[in-house]
Symmetry: C2
Subunit: 346 residues, 2 copies
DNA sequence: GGTCTTTGGGAAAACGTTTTCTCTTTTTCC
DNA sequence: GGAAAAAGAGAAAACGTTTTCCCAAAGACC
C-alpha cells in the first residue's frame, strides 16, 4: 500500500498555535518576523516550527497578504520552441537561479486558464505575481504592452519599451567588435545575414551594422544586409543561397545575427564549394554552447547570458522591493569577441 | 504617467454577483458548471463574465477547493544546468505545451521557501500541486522518494521506482539498434563510453550494452565500458583519452551514452590523429538538435523527446483526474536509428 | 385542491492566513 | 507609590472563493 494512505494531515497555523497554547496571530507574527512578540515566545515558536516543519499555506498567504514571491515569465508564443532555444534558455536559467536564491520562484504566464482567454495582465493580477520577466516578446503584442504599462514591475532581457527596464547586450559594441575583427583580417566586403527584424536584437544589430559600415567607409550596397525569414539553421542556409544569387561576387566575410543562423550559413557556403574560412569567413553572434564544437569552430560575439539573467533578476527584485515608479531604463551588458576557426587564417 | 495609476480594481465574484443581483454562490456555480442554476440566470452570468473578463482568483480557489491545476516539476539540483541541457529541455517543453493545452500550468519545485528548507513533498502540499513530473532526478534522493511514495500523483521521464509511472525510451532497443548497425558495418570491437551510472539512462544503456555484446558473442573485455565522470563534452573527451591509454588498439566503433559525450569523444579521437569515421566510428545517443550539424554529422539513436513529454503529460493528467491508486508502470517509447557521417563508410 | 417533488437560488460556513485593534500586564520614571 | 508608557498577546475581521444546506416557489400527480 502506498504511504499516501497514512498521509499526514497538513499542519496549519492553528495546530501550531494550539500546541503551544498561543493564538494563530502570534504564531504568524513570529513566522513573518513582524509585529511584537516576546523573546521567549518567539524562540518557542521558532523551535516548534523548525522541528515540525510547519510552513504557511502559500495560497492562504498570498490571498491575504498580496505578496506572492512569484515572478511571471513571458516566453512569447512564437512557435513553441521556447525552452529549446539555447540562448533564451540560458538567460532564463540564470534568472531562475538568481531569483530562487532570493526566495522567489518563477512561473510561466499563459493566456488561457480553463476555458477562457485571459490577457497577460489579467493573469498576473489573478495570480498576484510580484513581477514579470519578458524573456522573449514582441513590442507590438497588445498583451505585452498592457502588462508593461501596468503597475506591475517588469523587466525584459529582450525588448525595449517605455516604462520598461531592459537588460540587454550592447549590440552596437558587438557589431563594432565584429567589424574591427573583420578589418583586422583585411576584409572589406562584408555581408550581414540576420533574422526577422521584428526581434529587437536582430533589428538593432542590422542597424548598427549599416551605420558602422558607413562610418568606416566600407562598401554598403543594398544586398549587404540580408534578412532571413526565421532564426534557425534552415533560415540561415536559405538566406545565404539567396544572397549568393544576388551578388556578383561573394563577400569576404559574413556576419550572422545569431550562431544558429551562422551554422546554416556555413553549410550553405560549403554546399557552394566555398570553404570557410579560406574562401570566406563567417562570424556568429551569441556564443551558444555549441559554437565552439561546430566545424569550423565559430568565431562569434559572446553575449553574457549568465550576467544578463542575473542582472535582470536583481533589477526586478529591487524594483519590487523598493516599489519604485516604473521608468524606461536600459542596462547594457558588455559583449566579447571570441576568435575561432571560422575567421582563422586558412 | 503610467497606466498603473489608474489600475482598475480587481473584479471579484461579489462584484459580478452584485451587478447581476445574484448571490456569489450562484455565480460561482455558473462559472464552475456545478450545482443547479436556471437557464436564464446561467446565460446572464456567462455573458457578463465573458464581457467583463472576470476570472476567479487562483489563490482563493485553490485555497478553498484544493484543486490547483498546477503541476510541480522536479528538475533535480545536480548543478544548475537544468534548462540548458537540450535533451531535458526538449522533454520539458513538450510536456509543458501538452499540459497547458489541458488547462494546467507548470511550476518548478524548489526546496527552499523564504528562510527554511522544505522537502519536495512539503512543498507540494503547501502549494497543493495536483501532480508532479520528475524530469531529472536521483533514485536515492530521499526528497524524491518521499514525494513518489506519497499520495500525490507522479510521473517521471527519467527514473524508475516503485509506485511510479515512468515514460522512457526503450533503451534496450536503442542499444540493440546501435549494435545491429555496428555489426552491419562490420565492427566487432566496440566500446561504450557513457555518463555516471547514477543516472538511470546511462546505467540501463551500459547494462544493455554488456548483455547484448555477450549475446552476440562479441568481445567484451573489462575496458569495453568506460564511465565518464560527467555528461558533457569535456567528460566525453577525457574519458576517451583515458580509454585509449588503457587499450592496446582502439576499438572499431565507440557508442556514446549521449550526443554531448559523443561530441567530446570525436574531438578526443581527432586529437589523437584518429579520423572519424575512417579510422574509428562513433555513435551518439539522443539526437539532440545539434547532432546533425556536428562534423562529422553524428549517427545516433533518436529518443522521441516530443512524444515522451506528451505521453508523460497524458499519463499524469489521467492519473490526476481518475484518482487511480499509484503503481509502478513503465511506458516505453520507441527509439530510432539515425545514420549519419560518423558511421559512414570512409 | 392538497400533497409530493422538483427547481432555482440564497445564506453562511469553511479554506488558512495576515493584520489591525484592543486589552492586560509589566516596566519606567519622577 | 502613582501615572504614563511600553510590551506582549489575543480577538476578530478580512482575503475571494466553493460548497453544503436550506427554503420558497412552482409543477406534478391523483
Amino acid at each position: 500500500m502506498w504511504k499516501g494512505d497514512q498521509a499526514m494531515k497538513k499542519m496549519t497555523i492553528k495546530d501550531v498555535a494550539e500546541a503551544l497554547g498561543l493564538s494563530p496571530g502570534t504564531v504568524s507574527k513570529v513566522v513573518n518576523n513582524s509585529g511584537r512578540v516576546g523573546d521567549k515566545t518567539r524562540k518557542r515558536v521558532k523551535e516548534y516550527v523548525k522541528k515540525h516543519g510547519y510552513v504557511a499555506s502559500a495560497n492562504a498567504r498570498i490571498l491575504k497578504s498580496r505578496l506572492s514571491f512569484t515572478i511571471g515569465v513571458i516566453f512569447s508564443d512564437i512557435s513553441h520552441v521556447g525552452l529549446e532555444h539555447p540562448f533564451f534558455a540560458s538567460i532564463l536559467q540564470s534568472f531562475k537561479t538568481a531569483v530562487e536564491e532570493r526566495g522567489y520562484e518563477i512561473v510561466f504566464i499563459v493566456s488561457r486558464v480553463g476555458e477562457n482567454e485571459l490577457t497577460y495582465y489579467q493573469w498576473c493580477r489573478n495570480k498576484k505575481v510580484d513581477g514579470v520577466l519578458i524573456v522573449m516578446g514582441n513590442i507590438n503584442n497588445p498583451n505585452i504592452q498592457e502588462v508593461v504599462q501596468s503597475e506591475i514591475p517588469c523587466v525584459s532581457t529582450d525588448i525595449v519599451m517605455d516604462n520598461l527596464q531592459s537588460v540587454i547586450s550592447d549590440d552596437k559594441e558587438g557589431v563594432r567588435l565584429a567589424l574591427d575583427h573583420a578589418e583586422n583580417l583585411g576584409c572589406e566586403h562584408i555581408t550581414h545575414i540576420t533574422g526577422p527584424t521584428s526581434s529587437r536584437g536582430f533589428a538593432e544589430r542590422a542597424a548598427a551594422f549599416s551605420r558602422e559600415m558607413e562610418e568606416r567607409g566600407l562598401p554598403l550596397p543594398d544586398e549587404a544586409v540580408e534578412i532571413a525569414e526565421g532564426f534557425g539553421f534552415t533560415s540561415g542556409y536559405n538566406a545565404t543561397l539567396k544572397h549568393l544569387k544576388k551578388v556578383a561576387r561573394p563577400p569576404e566575410l559574413i556576419l550572422a545575427g545569431s550562431d544558429e543562423l551562422a551554422f546554416g550559413i556555413v553549410r550553405a557556403l560549403e554546399s557552394k564549394r566555398l570553404r570557410v574560412p579560406e574562401d570566406i569567413m563567417v562570424m556568429g553572434y551569441d556564443d551558444i554552447k555549441f559554437a565552439k564544437h561546430f566545424t569550423p569552430s565559430l568565431s562569434t560575439i559572446r553575449q553574457n547570458k549568465e550576467k544578463i539573467g542575473r542582472l535582470a533578476a536583481e533589477r526586478l527584485l529591487s524594483a519590487i522591493e523598493e516599489r519604485r515608479p516604473k521608468r524606461k531604463e536600459i542596462t547594457k551588458v558588455p559583449v566579447e569577441l571570441v576568435k575561432r576557426q571560422s575567421t582563422g587564417r586558412g
